[in-house]
């Protein structure tokens, strides 16, 4: 497994851990060309998916992209356009996970006490964002307050359940 695959797998594991503790199920889909890695939802009969549902595009970086106002993350044009698409049935968010530069530091362990994932993830919705046709890789800023954790995920799902906007 190369580093990119490790980053992809680690970000899925991270989101999976947060979703599980938030009481949600993770669904993966092999239609993967539209900037979605996983779908979260309530667990339905026979292990199926129920509303509210949320599609997530996961990104993982070891670069220092954390500024005072948040995560400054450059997106590929296709990902950017897919994420800001207003013609979606199920809402979609971007989650960026920051990891330490050294692979060995991604997980830390205190034997028999804890296994920690490092370091933290942020989220944002790009629904309806400007096109920005003059840039190839638009940089988006995930607000520093938007930490992707159990509480924020529960709030997101609550708001979707009430048919609110993200």
């Amino acid at each position: 497994m190369d580093l990119n695959q490790q980053k992809a797998q680690f970000s899925i594991a991270y989101a999976h851990a947060v979703a599980t503790v938030a009481g949600l199920k993770v669904f993966r889909c092999d239609v993967d060309d539209e900037s979605v890695d996983i779908t979260l939802g309530q667990s339905g009969g026979g292990g199926t998916i129920r509303s509210p549902r949320l599609d997530i595009q996961l990104k993982c970086t070891e670069r220092n992209v954390l500024r005072d106002d948040g995560i400054h993350f450059p997106l590929k044009r296709k990902n950017y356009d897919d994420l800001r698409d207003p013609q979606l049935m199920v809402p979609r968010i971007l989650v960026v996970l920051l990891v330490p530069a050294k692979l060995a530091a991604w997980l830390s362990e205190i034997p028999e006490r804890q296994l920690c994932m490092h370091r933290s993830a942020w989220w944002m919705s790009l629904n309806g964002a400007d096109e920005r046709p003059d840039v190839d890789t638009p940089t988006v800023v995930l607000p520093r307050a938007n930490v992707f954790n159990v509480d924020s995920l529960k709030e997101i799902m609550q708001s979707l359940g009430d048919r609110g906007q993200l």
Partner: protein
């Protein structure tokens, strides 16, 4: 059909109304409609919990394919059958579908020998034809000459593409949608509540049910009597012989039914019927029993009068015709009088081939033709 192929099948010319009627037929209920976007459908299962699908109302959403995949994944989990079958049913909302599945060990790689394959299609035709005849009048045996309505039905019904998963032959039987006026089905003078094509498919399902239960009962009790009452449900020698033919050299069979969503399922009909390879000897015996204990109606007889026996009054006699009856080489006797008796004498003296129709019944070792009628001379003697 793989899942990816199935998705593109449904996606192509996406018809949300067809999918909605499919869901309704399969026990789903619409809970919410978000106009121009999607509808939320749910289905409750006491054991497995609540299922939910989002039905896109248009294919213009950017995440349409993904949502379609969610939907099909959920249906597959709910129905526990291949997504390929679900998609075929969805795409044919106005047809009942009869599937004949041959047990996998004989269809290596999902293929059959050419010889076997041709026979399978013929037997499926015989099976459906037996049900069409039973839908008109239930009988123990049907003669080779079948009612026009049954033959016309065979031209209406379609053979679907064969489906993967063992070897599956599907027959699509078009049926008009059930429309209601208010809460009541339409009740008009002369209105046939159940269209003939639906009656055929329902009869087949009931007949297969009665056959598989009958075989169980015969195996347990040793008495074939149960099959006498099964005739009213559409069981016939012809149906049993079609099943025997499909089971070939001893393979198991499964028949399943999908009802047209636009008409809904008939009440109290099982959807899957299985026959294990060891059903065969029982079915053979049932078929023999039916053939020996019944008269064949509307049998065509061709042949030459071989023997004339005077029966008291002049111009009345017992006539033996040697030739074919119902397509089999047989000698058949009948009683004739008047002009028909004279025709019999001509046939006897000049070796004329004559044809007629009647009801054929076995009497001891001979066959009697009752109510012989529609006589004609087929071939004048060339001498």
């Amino acid at each position: 059909m793989t899942a990816a192929v199935a998705i593109s099948e449904v996606a192509r010319g996406f018809k949300p109304l067809d999918v909605a009627s499919y869901l309704r037929l399969h026990g789903w209920a619409q809970q919410e409609l978000v106009p121009d976007k999607y509808a939320v459908w749910t289905k409750h299962d006491n054991v497995r919990g609540e299922f939910e699908v989002l039905l896109p109302l248009s294919s213009t959403f950017s995440d349409f394919l993904r949502r379609l995949r969610d939907l099909l994944d959920t249906l597959e989990a709910d129905e526990r059958r291949p997504v390929g079958e679900i998609v075929v049913d969805m795409a044919t909302p106005h047809s009942d579908i009869i599937r004949t599945r041959l047990a996998s060990e004989t269809s290596v790689d999902g293929t059959l020998s050419l010889e076997d394959g041709a026979d399978v299609f013929q037997r499926v035709r015989d099976l459906v034809l037996a049900a069409a005849c039973a839908a008109i009048t239930p009988r123990r045996v049907y003669a080779k000459r079948k009612p026009d309505r049954a033959m016309a039905y065979l031209r209406e019904a379609r053979i679907g593409q064969t489906e993967r998963g063992s070897y599956v032959v599907s027959v699509l039987s078009p049926v008009p949608p059930l429309l209601t006026a208010g809460a009541q089905p339409m009740l008009l003078p002369g209105w046939e509540e159940e269209p003939f094509s639906r009656r055929v498919v329902r009869t087949l399902a009931e007949a297969l049910s009665a056959t598989s239960e009958g075989v169980q009962s015969v195996a347990a009790s040793g008495s074939i009597e149960v099959f006498s009452s099964a005739v009213e449900k559409g069981v016939s020698a012809n149906l049993c012989e079609a099943i025997i033919g499909l089971s070939g050299e001893g393979r198991g069979l499964e028949f399943s039914f999908s009802w047209a969503p636009s008409r809904g399922a008939p009440d109290g009909v099982r959807e899957v019927h299985r026959f294990s390879a060891d059903s065969r000897p029982y079915l053979e015996e049932v078929s023999r029993y039916f053939r020996q204990t019944s008269e064949l109606e509307q049998v065509e007889v061709f042949g030459v009068v071989h023997k004339l026996e005077q029966m008291g009054a002049p111009n009345v006699g017992r006539v033996t015709i040697v030739g074919t009856a119902d397509g089999e080489r047989r000698s058949v006797f009948t009683e004739l009088d008047g002009e028909l008796h004279k025709l019999a004498i001509r046939s006897y003296e000049h070796r004329l081939t004559i044809a007629c129709i009647g009801e054929l019944v076995k009497e001891g070792k001979s066959y009697r033709l009752k109510n012989a009628r529609d006589f004609r001379v087929v071939e004048e003697d060339r001498d």
